[in-house]
């Protein structure tokens, strides 16, 4: 080992706490990068493999009733690899020991042939025997929620008739990775499950022999999805086709996509924060190290070392920091990534997990780490390289301080110590700025992540307390005459009931079009209300249509514009409807009309699709008991229950996220403050010792250091809030999908909590260094030159 390397090693051993503090900040950056990129890649890979192995369909279509022969005809369309017609129906379930009503999506399996698409992965038991009408396979999450396995049984109301079903198998399907019931916010595995049974049995129950109600297609290589959809739509139209759609609009796929999108958005925001902070720290620390070693550098040059040799010496110092940061980051990131991927895989019920860490991921991590180290070091290093050797011959000049404040007309009488602190901060403006930015970043990382929870609360409040205020929604299997409202209203414990109608439509505005569920509501709705963007109730009294802001954005439609509404049910007419308002909507793409106006368009007076109700929770048992027996209903959403569940999940996530981000932010804050404090101590150790000799107390002397840190930390807070708001805005943009939008609401709690954590971390760090001041050896400090 060369002597210079030995010097390097000893420098690092001497400065290890500072080196480690920087390495940890860098490691956090590399770890979040590896974690984010790795988890995303793993889940994406797993999803693709799952889709591939289980032959997940590409195009989906629902019809009222189409003859099976049509499916054969459709199979003749060029470019199609496989076609699978089947029957799909939602029905109420009655599960022993469960008070609340549950629903199941019944899906048919071919009677004699193998499944061609959306293959089941049987996890327990077997498929139903052909001809065994009672036998069903149920989805694994649903089975787990109820402790069901082969041999269990429960009841269902199929087409108004109660049937007893026997579980023979438990399975997973790529089609229902994210199985969320209609009107539900997120999967509730107790109240919604997928149930597969043989086609003959299901067809018999719904009088659909020789017919299908749902069609799944797999495209061949190079086939155009758009043109296939167009042809199928034309063929299915007369059988009540509601418009075919691709994976993008398939519920499970879309939700999964939105989740992955979120994951990616997060993984793009956090690593750069750490890497910037690490670069700032490298810069400060190296600048100070080189300032201290000016004469040594001069000496090395004087005795014949070249500028390049000096450069490489200090570059190695940076490399040691970067390599330790990268190693720690890569190991921690891999470990966390494995855990996170497994957690996600469990949450999504993937039958397997491909944990994939590309060498590329690590290369990116390593490049980012080295890059941030270099970025921080380069200017200082070039200065060191250019340092003339003659500096070795001269003692260092005392740093020139600015005679600030003396020129002030209304010179504030600053205490001497404060003046010292301020002059020292202004003497090294770049370093002070770096420290402020570093601390601001740690405030920003907290503000920029924790706001999500407040925003979620805001969204919940807007959606469930102001807009969708019903406790439950009862969906009918088929449209019912409006007097059914009275039937529901007469049920026990019902306090209020309100009808709605849903019609699948395609909205068109110029070349832009979108398929949505158009909802009709009574004009004086009190439960499920439509709110405008100022959260005022928007009256639905004219013949016009109200579009949610996201939908209006997609269609580029404004109030006053006329949109074409193609009815995807019944006679598929196209009607022109004016847009009356653009409303606030965080969930999905929504469009609303007056119920009567919608029925007039449908030329079907007085039909409703379901009823929103408010009920007396104290008497809910009896209500639930009656609801389970309601022959017309296919699904009952319990908003109050799902909201509670949503909040529980949120609270769990909050705890995990707060823990993670608090430790990450604290790492930066601690790292910055520790380095600033050590540098200040190294620069002002003499002064501080001199002050002690002059009779200053330990408290007064460490007050200089604490004061300096306090100023940096406080000045950094507003900046941190601003940067944090920027992150939040970026994240809100990254999170927004057609399924939901997160409102950019950053509340005082997020700002306050972020600052509190950062200040606490800074204080802790300052106290660690303070102990060194208390231990200053007065005589030794005064005797030695730096």
């Amino acid at each position: 080992m060369s002597v210079l390397d030995r010097k390097l090693l000893r420098d690092i051993l001497r400065l290890w706490p500072q080196v480690l503090a920087i390495a940890f900040v860098m490691a956090s950056g590399v770890a979040t990068l590896v974690l984010g990129v790795g988890t995303y890649a793993s889940l994406n890979e797993t999803r693709n493999a799952y889709y591939e192995r289980n032959r997940f369909a590409d195009v989906f279509a629902q019809v009222t009733r189409a003859p099976r022969a049509l499916a054969e005809e459709i199979a003749g369309i060029p470019g199609l690899q496989a076609v699978e017609p089947r029957i799909e129906k939602i029905a109420l379930l009655s599960i022993p020991g469960m008070e609340a009503p549950a629903s199941g999506l019944f899906v048919s399996l071919p009677d004699l042939a193998e499944q061609r698409l959306n293959l089941l992965t049987i996890r327990q038991g077997r498929e139903p025997q052909p001809g065994a009408d009672r036998e069903v396979v149920i989805s694994e999450p649903f089975a787990r929620a109820h402790g069901f396995g082969p041999g269990s049984s429960f009841e269902a109301i199929l087409n108004g008739r109660k049937r007893s079903l026997l579980v023979v198998g438990v399975a997973l399907s790529p089609e229902f990775i994210y199985a969320v019931g209609p009107w539900d916010l997120m999967p509730d595995d107790r109240r919604f499950g997928i149930i597969w049974m043989r086609e003959r049995a299901l067809a018999a129950a719904y009088d659909l022999e020789g017919a299908f109600s749902s069609l799944h297609l797999k495209l061949g290589l190079g086939a155009s999805q758009a043109s296939v959809i167009e042809r199928i739509d034309a063929m299915l139209a007369r059988y009540g086709g509601r418009g075919a759609y691709g994976r993008k609009d398939q519920t499970s796929h879309a939700f999964l996509d939105a989740e992955l999108l979120q994951l990616r958005a997060m993984s793009r925001i956090t690593p750069p924060i750490f890497l910037i902070a690490a670069a700032l720290l490298v810069n400060m620390t190296l600048a100070r190290l080189i300032a201290l070693e000016r004469q040594q550098i001069g000496l090395l040059k004087a005795v014949g070392y070249s500028g390049a040799a000096i450069l490489s010496h200090y570059l190695k110092f940076v490399a040691v920091i970067a390599v330790s940061g990268i190693l720690i980051g890569a190991i921690v990131g891999t470990w966390l990534g494995r855990g996170a991927a497994r957690l996600y895989a469990d949450f999504f019920h993937f039958p397997f997990l491909i944990f994939r860490m590309d060498p590329e991921t690590y290369l990116i991590g390593a490049a980012a780490g080295l890059g941030s180290g270099l970025a921080g070091a380069i200017r200082v290093l070039l200065e060191a390289m250019r340092l003339p050797p003659a500096v070795a011959m001269s003692p260092p000049e005392p740093p020139a301080y600015h005679r600030m404040f003396s020129g002030f007309r209304f010179a504030v009488r600053l205490p001497g110590s404060l003046r010292m602190v301020l002059r020292h901060l202004l003497r090294w403006p770049l370093r002070t700025a770096s420290a402020i930015i570093g601390i601001a970043l740690s405030t920003a990382i907290l503000t920029g992540t924790l706001w999500v929870f407040e925003a979620s609360e805001f969204m919940i409040d807007a959606t469930f307390h102001r807009s969708e205020r019903q406790d439950a929604t009862i969906s009918f299997a088929q449209e019912q005459p409006s007097r059914s409202l009275q039937d529901v209203a007469r049920l026990p414990a019902i306090l209020a009931a309100e009808p709605y109608r849903i019609v699948p439509v395609e909205l068109r505005h110029g070349p832009l079009h979108r398929r949505v569920a158009l909802a009709g509501k009574p004009p004086d709705a009190r439960l499920s209300r439509v709110l405008d963007r100022e959260f005022r109730v928007a009256a639905l009294d004219g013949p016009g249509i109200a579009l949610s802001d996201a939908l209006a954005g997609i269609l580029r439609a404004r109030p006053g514009d006329v949109v074409e509404v193609e009815l995807l049910e019944r006679d598929r007419r196209v009607v022109l409807v004016p847009v009356t308002t653009v409303i606030q909507g965080y969930l999905g793409l929504t469009a609303f009309m007056n119920l009567d106006a919608l029925n007039r368009i449908m030329r079907e007076p007085d039909l409703i699709s379901g009823v929103h109700v408010r009920y007396d929770a104290a008497a809910q048992s009896e209500l639930f008991e009656r609801l389970k027996q309601l022959p017309k209903a296919s699904f009952i959403a319990l908003q109050r229950v799902s909201l509670r569940q949503f909040r529980d999940t949120l609270a769990q996530n909050l705890l995990t996220m707060v823990t993670i981000y608090v430790s990450l932010a604290a790492t930066i804050a601690f790292g910055v403050v520790y380095n600033v404090a050590r540098i200040t101590l190294s620069e002002q150790g003499h002064e501080m010792a001199s002050l002690r000799v002059l009779g200053f107390t330990r408290g007064e002397v460490s007050g200089l250091l604490i004061g300096e840190i306090a100023i940096i930390v406080l000045v950094a807070q507003p900046l941190g809030w601003a940067i944090g708001y920027g992150f939040a805005a970026g994240m809100a943009l990254g999170f927004s999908s057609e399924l939901y939008r997160v409102p950019l609401v950053v509340g005082r709690e997020a700002y306050g909590f972020a600052s509190l954590v950062v200040i606490a971390a800074a204080l802790l760090s300052a106290l660690v260094v303070r102990r060194r001041i208390d231990g200053l050896d007065l005589v030794a400090v005064l005797k030695t030159r730096e």
Binding site: V3, R14, Q296, G298, L300, V303, G304, A390
Partner: protein
């Protein structure tokens, strides 16, 4: 020195000038210096602060470049050398001793010497160099564990370990008391005698002049006088 006669000069300096500009102010540090030093010669340069002696030493040591004039080391023109050539010149030919020792605090005495021997062409063993300055028993001590005189002797060992052609010393005893300073001077005269190293020492301590072959006085950026000592005294004979 006996070998003095008929030798090509190690340094040939003519009309050397150095002007520093600081804003609008021009500072003439050197105003035309002519100087020669023969191989093996021991020269002491005296002069008050600001007389230009340090600037002069920096230029002939390859640490700085002149504004005008000639500066030859043997047949190398120092004024025409670029940064890289100056580095090589220092590496191969020059040894430096500084007033404040300039030891690397994180390296031991031996390692501080190795710093130079590692990059030199024909160095002596670090242990031998430290033996020459009488520090053979302090090899593995860090600078903080050595006295000021010992530190300066390590610096001298470091400077002579590469067997330089010239040894340039800037106030080598400036930070030392008389007794310690004399031991440092002994180390310098010993290396001059034993290795034949041309040695130039700048100081404002007039007591040192008696150990030199020649005494050059600087004043106001010029050489005011250059006097050859009839009899060199041993370092142990001087005091201040």
């Amino acid at each position: 020195m006996a070998a003095e006669a008929n030798q090509q000069p190690v340094f040939r300096i003519a009309g050397l000038a150095k002007v520093y500009r600081s804003g609008d102010v021009e500072v003439h540090a050197l105003r035309g210096v002519d100087f020669e030093a023969r191989a093996g010669e021991f020269v002491v340069i005296l002069g008050p602060s600001g007389s230009g002696k340090s600037t002069f030493l920096n230029i002939i040591g390859g640490l700085d470049t002149p504004t005008s004039g000639e500066a030859w080391f043997k047949d190398h023109d120092l004024t025409r050398m670029n940064e890289r050539e100056l580095t090589l010149y220092r590496r191969d030919h020059v040894g430096f001793v500084f007033q404040f020792y300039n030891l690397v605090p994180s390296l031991t005495a031996r390692e501080n010497v190795q710093l130079v021997t590692e990059i030199a062409r024909n160095p002596m063993r670090p242990e031998d160099a430290l033996g020459l300055v009488d520090l053979g028993n302090r090899l593995d001590h860090f600078p903080a564990e050595l006295s000021g005189g010992e530190q300066q002797r390590v610096a001298i060992a470091r400077a002579i370990a590469k067997r330089p052609d010239v040894l340039l010393c800037d106030e080598p005893t400036g930070a030392l008391d008389s007794r310690t300073g004399i031991r440092v001077l002994e180390a310098l005269t010993a290396s001059n005698a034993e290795l034949g190293t041309t040695t130039i020492v700048i100081t404002h301590n007039a007591a040192i002049q008696d150990i030199a072959d020649r005494v050059v006085r600087f004043a106001d950026g010029r050489i005011a006088s250059s006097i050859r000592n009839e009899r060199r005294r041993a370092a142990s004979e001087v005091s201040w």
